[in-house]
């Protein structure tokens, strides 16, 4: 599949030194809830412009890891370095401003606003957030950003609909659109195809491939997913978590052949 080469290629815009550095790196990241170590000593990195998947059985620590990266949870010890900068312990709004966006496992949108408003509120978080005198729809730059994000997730034709009127699959994609509208460098997708029909899953898969391949976005993607088929097709590298530790890491082919991984997945 040539997965390894594309993972190393990097963006043509950046210089070679920066392109070689991972977009995100964790050092001995540990999270404890009382006596229980939800994550213990995770050393992990995502290459620039790669699609990287995290899999693992329930309770393996995938969501905890996500919450740590996006500032929802504080790590007990260890460091998170994003784009060369230590972001350990920063609140989630600051992390968002630095360039990490996330979508949620449970659909987490504003149901009483239109699709466009949902995305626009995310797009204006970089500028104009404190503006109190203009109408919120009056900014050409924000509208353009919001509509571009909607186009990326295929919802531009539904821009004026109330978000609550969308189908489940469309709401899931809107979820990604909101994250994209903040123009992140790293997009974390938490089970983007959860509860979707096969057709919707295929659509979302294509969507992720499309945004991952968009050279204008300079985007790296971290994805947690249960659907193995989706993971194997999308990701260039896969990390397997089990009991809060990394069990294996490699290309989809390597992971599929790894006996330890097979054991964990056959057991559960």
């Amino acid at each position: 599949m040539g997965a390894q080469t594309s993972a190393v290629q990097g963006s043509p815009v950046r210089d070679r030194g920066a392109a070689a550095a991972p977009i995100l790196r964790t050092e001995l990241l540990t999270v404890r809830f009382g006596g229980l170590a939800a994550l213990s000593g995770i050393n992990f990195q995502i290459a620039r412009n790669a699609v990287h998947a995290i899999i693992g059985p329930n309770g393996a620590g995938k969501s905890t890891f996500f919450n740590c990266l996006t500032g929802v949870l504080r790590s007990t010890s260890g460091r998170i370095i994003f784009d060369g900068e230590d972001i350990t312990g920063l609140p989630s709004n600051v992390i968002s401003q630095k360039g990490i966006a996330r979508s949620y496992q449970i659909t987490n949108i504003m149901p009483n606003a239109t699709v466009l408003e949902n995305v626009r509120i995310a797009a204006q978080s970089r500028r104009h957030g404190w503006n109190m005198v203009s109408h919120h729809g009056a900014f050409a730059d924000i509208n353009a950003k919001a509509e571009a994000a909607l186009q990326s997730v295929g919802l531009l034709s539904k821009a004026e609909e109330l978000a609550s009127n969308l189908s489940h699959g469309e709401q899931r994609n809107l979820e990604i659109g909101i994250a994209l509208a903040t123009e992140p460098k790293l997009l974390c997708l938490d089970e983007p195809t959860a509860g979707m029909s096969q057709a919707e899953t295929d659509e979302t898969k294509e969507l992720v491939q499309r945004i991952a391949g968009d050279p204008a976005k300079d985007l790296s993607i971290l994805i947690v997913e249960h659907d193995m088929q989706v993971v194997m097709e999308l990701a260039q590298r896969i990390t397997v978590l089990n009991y809060g530790a990394i069990l294996a890491e490699g290309t989809p082919e390597e992971i599929q052949r790894n006996p330890k991984v097979l054991e964990v997945y056959l057991k559960t």
Partner: protein, 333 residues
């Protein structure tokens, strides 16, 4: 570069133009009615209408928190009361009493209270925020009630009205008609200002916090700061209502700082329709009117709260969005 198809934007703009026209025609019609009203109404109803506007402003100010930011405040009596006592202090201390000094000190008092409440309670959510605002307002009530040398304690303060003084333009005693116009001007300006705020990008952030606080933080907003500013604005306009009340009635009493005032404010909001700004004014009018009619027909001793409470329950069951809730999306467009 991604190109955006422009034809999707154009019909949108056109639709908003006609919406804007309809809005302003409606606004002007209602303003015209309210301007003419004191000229045709008898003295009692003239004052009654003015007071509805003042309570409406108080309710509208709390709608910014309840309806837009999603924080239910049970402490608006504190802002209202501080506005009232601030104005009272300025009117008593300065001779001759000056309208603009009263306004300034009233707003400063409310701003001080709002800053205090905003700082300590915005990190809390839902019922915890509501309870904290309630407690803070009761603290202000106790201070005002017990600090007799300054606040007059239980008896409150009585003072004389300033002139309606517009520098270089106008200087005359307030009549009940000019008072009404003055209150109307302040309330209308406040409405337009709050409407602008709620439609601005800032207002969208507030509504996003109401809909989904965690998500709002995750897309990069410092939620606490937005909440604080929202509380500040809300407190300022509640204080403005307090100043107007002091001007209208020429007294300040601790009763108004008591939490029952805050409770009434929330009821006006629910009756009129939260998240509409004008709804709370309608709610205040409805509440006051029903109460007045009840005591008119059944006498002063009539326990008007019982039927009023039943009306409230019926409204919540059959009109959960309030009197103007149906127009919510349209009004906020």
């Amino acid at each position: 570069m991604t190109t955006v198809p422009l034809e999707k934007v154009r019909p949108l703009g056109k639709a908003r133009l006609s919406h804007t026209a309809v809005f302003w025609i409606g606004f002007c019609a209602i303003m015209a009615l309210l301007i003419v009203a004191p000229l045709v109404l008898p003295e009692f109803w003239r004052r009654f209408l003015t007071e509805i506007l003042i309570w409406g402003l108080l309710a509208m100010s709390s709608d910014l928190l309840i309806g837009y930011t999603g924080m239910i405040s049970f402490g608006h009596s504190a802002f209202f009361g501080l506005g009232m006592y601030g104005a009272a202090g300025a009117l008593i201390a300065h001779s001759p009493p000056n309208l603009w000094l009263a306004l300034f000190f009233g707003l400063a008092g409310a701003a001080g209270a709002a800053l205090f409440v905003a700082f300590f309670s915005t990190r809390l959510r839902d019922i915890y925020f509501a309870i904290t605002t309630l407690i803070f307002s009761q603290i202000f009530y106790v201070i005002i009630f017990t600090w007799t040398p300054v606040t007059g304690g239980e008896n409150g303060l009585i003072f004389s009205r300033p002139h309606l003084w517009l520098p270089f333009l106008y200087d005359a005693r307030f009549t009940s008609t000019t008072m009404h116009w003055f209150v109307l001007a302040v309330v209308a300006a406040s409405y337009l200002f709050l409407r602008r705020i709620t439609q601005s990008p800032f207002g969208m952030v507030l509504q996003s916090i109401r809909e989904n606080e965690a998500r709002t933080r995750a897309i990069g907003y410092a939620v606490e700061r937005y909440k604080m500013v929202s509380v500040m604005f809300s407190g300022l306009f509640a204080g403005l209502a307090g100043v107007l009340y002091a001007l209208q009635n020429q007294f300040a009493a601790p009763d108004f700082v008591y939490f029952l005032t805050s409770g009434d404010t929330v009821i006006y909001n629910v009756m009129g329709g939260i998240g509409t700004l004008v709804g709370p004014i309608v709610g205040a009018g409805f509440f006051q009117l029903v109460r007045d009619l009840l005591s008119r027909f059944f006498g002063d001793q009539f326990p008007y709260l019982i039927p009023l409470g039943m009306i409230f329950i019926v409204m919540i069951i059959f009109l959960p969005q309030g009197l103007l809730g149906f127009a919510r999306r349209w009004l906020n467009k």
